[in-house]
């Protein structure tokens, strides 16, 4: 047996698992998205019609799809920078030589990541209750009028963003912490001897050395945040006035509430295409940035 065949043989189990549990469902979903699979087709498969790109075309003409996309982009554009800033800030504090009780704070800040969304959402709904919530109580002490956090279409998404950032920042914090610990201490020592301030050390040593970590965390967070679903599902059910309906929430409603699986699959593939384009763009920009840095150096 030649080495090529042996290699394929060794790969076969992994490829088989990937093929059965990933590739096949994806191909099936793609095929589904070209049909009008719905309740009638579920009852009798003869009611299934091939509609080619009809689902995609109908979606692009639906105002709800565009508004859902708008909400998702809003969530990503505000949520990702906030989330990464919170993670980096917490990691910097934990990495500081001045910090005490590090294991305790590391665990405490990571705790939201391992809690269940549904259980935590119940508590957040209390915190942000218009009449009895702690958030409005605190605002009341400052003399600010109560805000209808989850009932006002303008405030619901910011509340969801705050919830998602709080829930997720611990995970990236741990990755950043590992990245920070990998930066050689002598770089900082040299900078201090040259008289660099804390900000300049951060700007010219920490950030460049964290570059690859930042890029990876950025891509993971963007693709994670594009798949916004659980937070609006448990906090607002897509409301008020559909102001927290994300693309994935739309897919869920199409697929499981109304059982239009064809149209729901089309939503999934459109979201996939958008996420693919955005991450590809991010990688490209990062590569160009790296080149520019390389030329300047």
């Amino acid at each position: 047996m030649n080495p090529r065949h042996a290699a394929w043989l060794f790969l076969a189990p992994a490829l088989l698992v990937l093929g059965v549990f990933f590739l096949l469902p994806v191909i099936a979903a793609l095929a589904l998205s070209l049909t009008d699979y719905d309740l009638y087709a579920l009852a009798d498969v003869r009611n299934l019609r091939f509609v080619a790109l009809g689902n995609y075309w109908a979606l692009l003409q639906r105002p709800l799809f565009w508004s859902a996309l708008g909400h998702t982009v809003y969530f990503v554009a505000v949520g990702v920078p906030l989330s990464m800033a919170a993670s980096l800030g917490a990691a910097l504090l934990l990495n500081s030589p001045l910090a005490r009780c590090k294991p305790f704070f590391r665990t405490a800040l990571f705790a939201p990541v391992v809690t269940t969304v549904v259980a935590v959402a119940v508590i957040w709904r209390y915190l942000f209750n218009t009449k009895y919530g702690m958030a409005n109580y605190a605002l009341g002490l400052l003399g600010v009028h109560p805000v209808d956090w989850l009932g006002d279409p303008h405030w619901a998404m910011p509340t969801i963003i705050a919830f998602a950032v709080w829930k997720n920042f611990g995970y990236n914090m741990v990755i950043f912490l590992a990245g920070l610990q990998a930066i050689p201490a002598d770089l900082y020592e040299a900078a201090r001897i040259d008289g660099a301030s804390a900000w300049r050390q951060f700007r010219h040593i920490t950030l460049p050395m964290l570059g690859p970590t930042l890029l990876m965390v950025g891509i993971l967070t963007v693709s994670g945040y594009f798949q916004l679903f659980a937070e609006p599902y448990v906090m607002t059910e897509g409301g008020p006035l559909q102001s927290t309906t994300s693309v994935l929430y739309l897919m869920y409603e199409e697929g499981f509430k109304w059982w239009n699986l064809g149209s729901a699959s089309a939503v999934a593939f459109l979201l996939f295409a958008i996420m693919f384009a955005v991450t590809a763009l991010m990688l490209r920009l990062a590569r160009r940035g790296a080149h520019a840095d390389g030329e300047a150096a």
Binding site: D38, L39, L42, K131, D152, G239, F256
Partner: protein, 438 residues
């Protein structure tokens, strides 16, 4: 009473820990699968939706005593997840033996051919007597001439109102028609003080739908193939509904923004509240004792005299692939007895669908339930198509745009028709397709 059920031999029961182990081993995330995996032949799996699941457990011991061979496993589904869970169970072949099913969902499951026709069993039954049921409620269970469910409890919308506020404004009785209603709303609304005649949450379609059902024209036309929302009747109902907001006799807010409507109703923020029977219990619980004499209920006013309202509620249905149909029917018969329905009302406040159930118990002399009794003789079913809930949802979204002033009444009616026609496209195709077959 259980003529439909054959006598059952008490079977060997699997010990609870074995049953649990079996479930875990088979990884049966869909709980319905567990009942079938067990060797217990006469274990009925009964799915309930929402609050009914808690009350039913209090009624079942009597049933199990009367039928020693039948054990009932009740599984409670939350209302928000029930619809998808039922459809997923159908797709996965793990439906229960019987379930509670909202009567607007019934056409969907009939379209799936998932339900057992029940006419033959009703004909043989000494307990379930169709002429004792409110006619329109019974009719919601008949699709294309075949019976698929037995009504369990009813739900319709009518007016809750503050008797003291109406009296102060010079009105001795609640309104009987829209003109009188409009006059009262005008007299009772003071938007500058944030006091409104009525609360109509803009995210609920039931209110507009109830007004629309009062009209002579049906909501769908041509054998339920197209929307009929441009009819004069629907436009009149939509205009009345939208005018209530434009005249600032109702605030344009959703349920979430309304927060706690019961307290606000007690404080006089709203004089009317268009809602359903469960709120009798809520108002009794939430309003202080001193205010209990200040509210009542009234049938829904119509365009010209007392009007119709929606025939809502839940039915009990048996799935076609259940192996325990006789036992399931025995349970349906038990839950249909007037005495049991009266106990059910005492436990939960769910209103019975049979006239004889209203003739005794707590319901007979209840002044606040009387309006419902009257309204139930005057309810209308919604169009029996699987797509109805979707159409009603779209209707309300467009109506909310009209309330916001983005669309005129005629534009809104045309837009609802356009959306309804698009949703019904597949139904038209299936009907035409079936027609062309030999």
């Amino acid at each position: 009473m259980s003529r439909g059920a054959r006598p059952h031999r008490p079977g060997r029961r699997m010990p609870p820990h074995r049953l649990l182990a079996a479930c875990l081993l088979t990884g049966a995330a869909v709980l319905g699968g567990c009942g079938k995996a067990a060797t217990e032949r006469d274990t009925l799996t009964f799915w309930t939706i929402g609050r009914e699941g808690e009350a039913i457990t209090r009624l079942l011991p009597d049933f199990e005593r009367a039928h020693p061979g039948i054990r009932v496993r009740v599984q409670q589904l939350p209302l928000t997840a029930a619809h998808q869970k039922l459809l997923t169970a159908y797709a996965g072949g793990s439906t229960p033996d019987l379930t509670q099913l909202g009567n607007t969902w019934l056409p969907e499951f009939v379209a799936l051919d998932a339900l057992e026709p029940l006419q033959a069993r009703v004909d043989r039954s000494a307990v379930v007597r169709p002429d004792d049921y409110f006619a329109s409620i019974w009719a919601t269970n008949v699709i294309d001439g075949r019976l698929y469910g037995v009504p369990w409890y009813v739900d319709t919308r009518l007016l809750f109102y503050r008797t003291d506020l109406l009296r102060q404004a010079g009105f001795a009785a609640p309104p009987r028609d829209w003109n009188a209603w409009r006059r009262m709303l005008a007299a009772l609304s003071h938007p500058e003080r944030r006091v409104y005649g009525i609360l109509l949450p803009t995210n609920e379609y039931e209110q507009l739908m109830s007004l629309a059902l009062q009209q002579d024209e049906p909501l769908l036309r041509d054998g339920n193939r197209y929307g009929n929302f441009r009819s004069a009747g629907f436009r009149q109902a939509l205009a009345f509904y939208v005018d209530t907001f434009r005249l600032r006799q109702a605030p344009a807010i959703t349920n979430a923004e309304a927060g706690n409507p019961w307290t606000e109703f007690g404080r006089g923020v709203y004089a009317f509240y268009l809602s359903g029977p469960w709120n009798i219990g809520e108002f009794r619980k939430r309003l202080p004792a001193a205010q209990q004499g200040d509210w009542s209920t009234a049938p829904l006013p119509g365009p010209h005299g007392p009007g119709a309202s929606g025939a809502g509620g839940s039915s009990l249905v048996i799935f076609r692939n259940s192996p325990h149909k006789d036992a399931a029917w025995a349970l349906i018969e038990y839950l249909s007895q007037p005495a049991v329905q009266q106990r059910f009302y005492d436990l939960l406040g769910d209103m019975p669908p049979r006239r004889s159930s209203w003739d005794g118990g707590a319901l007979r002399d209840d002044p606040q339930a009387r309006a419902f009794r009257e309204q139930l003789e005057r309810v209308k079913p919604t169009p029996p198509v699987a797509e109805w809930e979707r159409i009603a949802t779209e209707m309300q979204l467009v109506a909310a745009q009209a309330i916001a002033g983005e669309l005129t009444i005629d534009q809104a009616a045309a837009e609802i028709d356009r959306r309804a026609d698009a949703i019904l496209e597949k139904r038209r195709w299936v009907l035409d397709h079936a027609g062309s077959k030999p």
